[in-house]
């Protein structure tokens, strides 16, 4: 059951938002994108987005393929994700990362969010680096984060602390600028809080696995 749930989470990005658009490439070099209405031994009929219908004979057609949105190779991106952190305790997480894609493989960003540990809220402030293995619409990736958990309440007694982690995941772009991302990962946290006594504090070393689901805009 649990495995099934994880499967759904992991590949949600792939299964959702499946494309139905097709592109007919003509021998004259042009291409027409739309919904394929019919296809037989004589040719194809396609309806474009404006509702027009076009018929092409097989002799005019170079190829027919599923529409693949072109994704910018570099530029700014935003990833907003929600997650569940599990381990000794289960808590929620909301992160927003704004970054820059240097090329189709390497991305780096700065993140903020809100998370909860031991019933206390924190703002994670972190840097994220990401490597995409593939460059198509579906991009498996690995990423690493490092930063600081800033306490949101009782500042002074709650000292916050380091956070670092790694993820493996997949981003699927279902439109030219929008994709969905899923991941699983590991987080290590070292949080500190003052104790009752002078010059004393309590540290917590925490290990968490995390499952995240989010949207990517680029």
């Amino acid at each position: 059951m649990k495995t099934g749930f994880l499967l759904v989470i992991l590949f949600a990005g792939c299964m959702c938002f499946a494309q139905t658009g097709m592109v007919v490439h003509l021998k004259n070099g042009s291409a027409v994108r739309g919904e394929l209405i019919s296809e037989d031994s004589t040719g194809v009929k396609i309806r474009t987005r404006d509702g027009s219908y076009y018929n092409y004979s097989l002799s005019e057609i170079e190829s027919i393929e599923k529409f693949t949105p072109s994704i910018s190779k570099s530029g700014f991106y935003n990833k907003t994700s929600v997650g569940v952190l599990g381990g000794a305790q289960i808590s929620g997480s909301l992160n927003v990362v704004n970054g820059y894609a240097f090329n189709e493989h390497f991305e780096a960003g700065f993140g903020l969010g809100i998370e909860s540990f031991v019933w206390d809220p924190y703002i994670p402030v972190f840097l994220e680096g990401r490597f995409n293995f593939l460059t198509g619409r579906t991009r498996p990736y690995v990423s690493a984060t490092a930063g600081y958990e800033v306490p949101l309440i009782d500042i002074g007694n709650m000292l916050g602390g380091l956070t670092t982690g790694a993820e493996i995941g997949m981003t699927h772009y279902f439109a030219q600028h929008v994709g969905i991302s899923t991941s699983i990962g590991y987080r290590f946290l070292y949080l500190k809080e003052r104790s009752w006594w002078d010059d004393s504090f309590i540290s917590r070393e925490m290990h968490r696995f995390e499952v995240r689901l989010g949207f990517v805009f680029r």
């Binding site: 994880l6 104790s195 006594w197 002078d198 010059d199 004393s200 070393e205 968490r208």
Partner: protein, 415 residues
């Protein structure tokens, strides 16, 4: 399938892994002095520089300043403009003192020690009450945890500080060996009282004398000591107050106690057995008290060992000692000691300085500030006969306040 089984196993591994909770703290490790060495008679030596604040006490023209845990400075204050440092009584573990007649009573860690001070340049230890304060411990730098103490090894006369890391889990506690409020045992003094034979201390003292009895408070325990014969003081059963008592103030035959949770009134109708009369409670804080006429003045403060969130002056109507009532409150910054002489109410308001209020109407005294000396981080004060002796975090000041609107600085000394 194998991969997902592996992932599932890792997830379960994390789920079963508890957070590692570690307490990082400084622990006081006791340094012992064997009993024989500890109880060697105290010695009196030449003047030593006064380097820290402590209990202050006046008797006749003499001023005494306790150097916490080290001893007592003897100062001839005949001319307050030029105080003359006579010498230093080396008395380990001394934090409080009182004088009656020619005898000085002081604590030395667990013992009460009595000196004949007929000659102030040659005080002589004449008797010692052993183990009167079994809980006494050296002053510590801060509010630290204490390692277990083995009294078989001797008297704890110092601390070594050690950084400790211990894994307790969420429910664990630091091994607290005691000494909550040790800093209050440390010093403080100056209030008004006394017959001509006794001296006068500040408002934060733990020693006080009423007639033939010396009363010493040790945490929540009040020790009555009959000192009719200083050479053979008689110890009576301790009185358990049930509170963390920090200061004593005598008024007629009553003892007013400042505790961390309020003011207590005990009578000394039977001087060997003080009895509870009444109390006024407040939130947890430190609170010395002084009394004049039908009113008690209490400063309530927060601080290192003084938890809570209140810093104020409280005026308590004690015209009916069986039913004292708080009649006024005035916000302060971080009030420590206080003193009253006639209509002059002095508040040592920590970093906010020394303040003088007109107490001709006790109900509005806190609104009638006459003077403020913000350059003095005052801790305690003895105001007496238009002469104020102020001790602060970094010095001693003496003023002539015969004209409250025109304080005259007689002398000052920086630590």
């Amino acid at each position: 399938m194998k991969k997902f089984l592996g992932f599932l196993a890792i997830s379960l591994l994390f789920a079963s892994c508890e957070d590692k909770v570690t307490h990082h703290y400084i622990q006081c490790i006791p340094v012992y002095t064997d009993y024989e060495t500890f109880r060697q008679p105290a010695t009196f030596g030449g003047p030593q520089s006064i380097s820290e604040n402590g209990n202050i006490y006046i008797k006749d023209q003499y001023l005494f300043i306790v150097s916490p845990d080290k001893g007592i400075h003897f100062i001839d204050n005949s001319n307050p403009a030029y105080p003359n440092n006579l010498g230093f009584l080396n008395l380990k573990g001394c934090t409080n003192m009182a004088i009656r007649g020619n005898h000085l009573y002081a604590n030395s860690f667990i013992d009460l020690v009595i000196f004949d001070i007929s000659s102030l340049t040659n005080p002589v230890e004449v008797s010692r009450v052993e183990d009167l304060f079994p809980q006494a411990l050296p002053v510590m730098e801060k509010n630290y945890a204490v390692a277990p103490i083995d009294k078989n090894l001797g008297v704890v006369t110092a601390w070594e500080y050690q950084e400790v890391e211990e894994d307790f889990g969420d429910g664990g506690m630091i091994n607290w060996g005691g000494c909550m409020g040790c800093d209050a045992l440390t010093f403080e003094a100056a209030s008004a009282q006394n017959s001509p034979s006794t001296g006068m201390s500040g408002s934060i003292t733990r020693f006080t004398i009423i007639n033939d009895f010396l009363y010493v408070v040790d945490y929540g325990v009040l020790h009555p000591v009959q000192i009719t014969n200083p050479l053979a003081p008689e110890i009576f059963d301790p009185v358990y107050t049930g509170r963390m008592v920090e200061t004593l103030f005598p008024h007629d035959d009553l003892i007013f106690m400042g505790t961390t949770t309020g003011m207590l009134i005990y009578n000394t109708t039977d001087p060997s057995k003080p009895e509870y009369v009444s109390s006024v409670n407040h939130m947890t804080a430190c609170d010395p008290v002084v009394v004049q006429g039908n009113y008690a003045y209490v400063t309530v403060r927060t601080g290192t060992t003084c938890m809570g969130e209140i810093n104020q002056l409280e005026v308590i109507d004690i015209s009916n000692i069986y039913s004292p009532s708080r009649v006024a409150e005035f916000k302060m910054t971080n009030p420590h000691g206080l003193g009253i002489d006639g209509n002059n109410l002095f508040i040592c308001d920590g970093k906010d300085g020394l303040k003088l209020f007109d107490a001709s109407n006790p109900l509005t005294c806190g609104d009638n500030q006459l003077q403020r000396f913000k350059n003095i981080e005052a801790v305690d004060i003895i105001p007496y006969n238009n002469h104020a002796i102020v001790i602060g975090e970094n010095g001693i000041w003496q003023y002539d306040y015969s004209d409250p609107s025109d304080f005259k600085l007689l002398s000052s000394f920086s630590f």
